[in-house]
Amino acid sequence: MALAQRSRNASLLAGGTLVGLVVLAALVSFGWTPHDPLRVEATDRLLGPTGRYVFGTDRFGRDVASQLLVGARSTLYVGVVAVGLAALVGTPLGILAGMSRRWLGEFVMRANDLVLAFPALLLAIMFGAVFGAGTLTAMIAIGIATVPSFARIARSGTLQVMSTEYVLAARAAGRSPAFIARRHVLPNIAGLVIVQCSVSFAIAVLAEAALSFLGFGTRPPTPSWGRMLQESQELLAVEPRLALIPGIAIALAVLGFNLLGDGLRDRFDPRLEAYR
């Protein structure tokens, strides 16, 4: 148990630290970056790491470290809005499906299955084709595609809570469904929803990177890790650094959110106790 406890805490700690670093990078970039991330310096093109440019410069002579810091903002921005949208829409829908009579619950879950057939990347490309590519369309598309995972989690949690004795007692006492949802269901499924937020955030970070790589995410000149990778593709043979730096940043951010999700899940889900 002591070993298991340590491993659980290690997950939480490592995940929290990595996520904290991304958040810190984004926050710092609002007030300070080593250089202007958008300033093109023709004489400083493709410089390796130096005292002046910690991670060197790209093919336009822009400072990679400054772009990386500001890119953290795009990553978090897309993640927060997409996951926030998904949680705010998906959780109430899941609770409704779990609490309501058979046909309404069935209808919500069938609609959910239909949305599941449109994965985030596909939805974002569709949105891009119709509304034009950009951060907002990417965020909304990723958010909509993530709604079903929240609805499913919330529904299964709600079904469990609804079969407990204290809910039966509340219903027998004549409490309204809205009261039961607010007072009993939501607090009990909050842990599951928070875990899902962390896991979905990791997926959103990957989706944003892929979309920016394809030209459907954050638009130039706003720095984004996915677009930094896309711009580095042609120079991979001569300057692998330009791909590795944003690539490692994306991987660490995703790893951080996944580890945080794992740590939180272990903490919130006592059924996993046996395997710790």
Binding site: L114, A117, F118, V130, F213, L214, L229, G247, A253
Partner: protein, 319 residues
């Protein structure tokens, strides 16, 4: 469970699949046809004269009621006719079928890579979950999940194509033209798609096998003298397969869409590349057809997973 009950269950699931396909087609049609505005205007540009616009609208059938446009489109799709491109004025169907072939090869081999990696590694990680080797596999899988497939692709190209020169960095040779070149060209794209998904799958296999290891029937098998691996192979893996199959279905859908990005990295003429090219040229009818094919692909995968689940889990056959 009787044969008629099995057929009933099959028919019910097939009806749900058909209904889902129809609703998805309506959603895609409305989204791609109504919201973007006039496709004739898009095809001809802003300088088109009203007469030319009216003629083109008539030619594309856009002057007819929406419902008849939809029925024409969806009826055509069922017979393989996806309409004529607004931009190239060529039929979309034949190109779509060609491109689909490339994507199916990519996704199929990517899935094989993922399975070949996940089943042994996941099982090993579960059996040795208290040992450093088990923890190392879990850590490796956790890292693998965090790497975007396109980055994996770029790095694989860098190593095996640019540095070592063993494999081509991109491009496509059809299998009937030169089987060797076809296989060599498929290795890196399949690896970049499959390794990342394999990492995801490894974690699910580990959890599932770990769940099974704690079951009473395995303890009974062990107490009858079977060695741990014997007990697991004879009694455990079939049960551990159930949750993995569900994830496998979701993964296959992810691979289908993930192929869009990998095709871009390796310049493969698949459905994903066609989708991106069609979006770039504002060929919305082609986009509409490709999106429908991909969505139907995802729904079909879910349908097959449902069926497999029923076959493998006798408890579900009655439901």
């Amino acid at each position: 469970m009787t044969t008629s009950a099995v057929l009933m269950a099959l028919a019910r699931r097939a009806a749900i699949l058909l209904a889902s396909v129809l609703v998805a087609s309506v959603v895609i049609f409305l989204f791609m046809t109504v919201i973007p505005g006039d496709p004739a205007q898009v095809a001809l540009g802003v300088n088109a004269t009203p007469e030319l616009l009216a003629r083109t609208r008539h030619e594309f059938g856009l002057d007819r009621p929406l419902i008849s446009q939809y029925l024409d489109w969806v009826g055509g799709v069922f017979s393989g006719d996806f309409g004529t491109s607004y931009v190239t004025r060529e039929p979309i169907g034949p190109q779509l079928v060609d491109r689909l072939g490339v994507t199916v090869w990519l996704v199929g081999t990517g899935m094989l890579v993922a399975l070949a990696m996940a089943i042994p590694l996941g099982t090993l990680a579960a059996v040795r979950h208290r040992k450093p080797s088990g923890a190392a596999i879990s850590g490796f899988a956790q890292l693998g999940i965090a790497v975007p497939a396109f980055l994996a692709g770029m790095l694989l190209v860098q190593l095996f194509a640019v540095r070592l020169g063993w494999l081509p960095s991109g491009g496509w040779t059809p299998p009937n033209q030169d089987a060797g070149a076809f296989l060599r060209g498929l290795v890196l794209p399949a690896l970049s798609l499959g390794l990342v998904q394999g990492a995801v799958l490894t974690r699910y296999v580990r959890t599932s096998v770990l769940d099974t290891l704690g079951q009473d029937y395995l303890r009974t098998a062990r107490s009858k003298g079977l060695r741990p691996y014997q007990a697991l192979f004879r009694h455990g893996l079939r049960n551990a397969a159930l949750p993995v199959i569900t994830v496998l279905g979701l993964q296959l859908a992810t691979l289908l869409i993930g192929a869009v990005v990998v095709e871009r990295v390796f310049v493969l003429p698949g459905l994903g590349s066609m989708l991106l090219d069609s979006v770039a040229s504002r060929d919305l009818l082609a986009v509409q057809g490709i999106v429908l094919v991909l969505v139907v692909g995802v729904l079909l995968v879910n349908f097959v997973v449902d069926l497999l689940y029923t076959v493998l889990d006798p408890r579900l056959r009655g439901s």
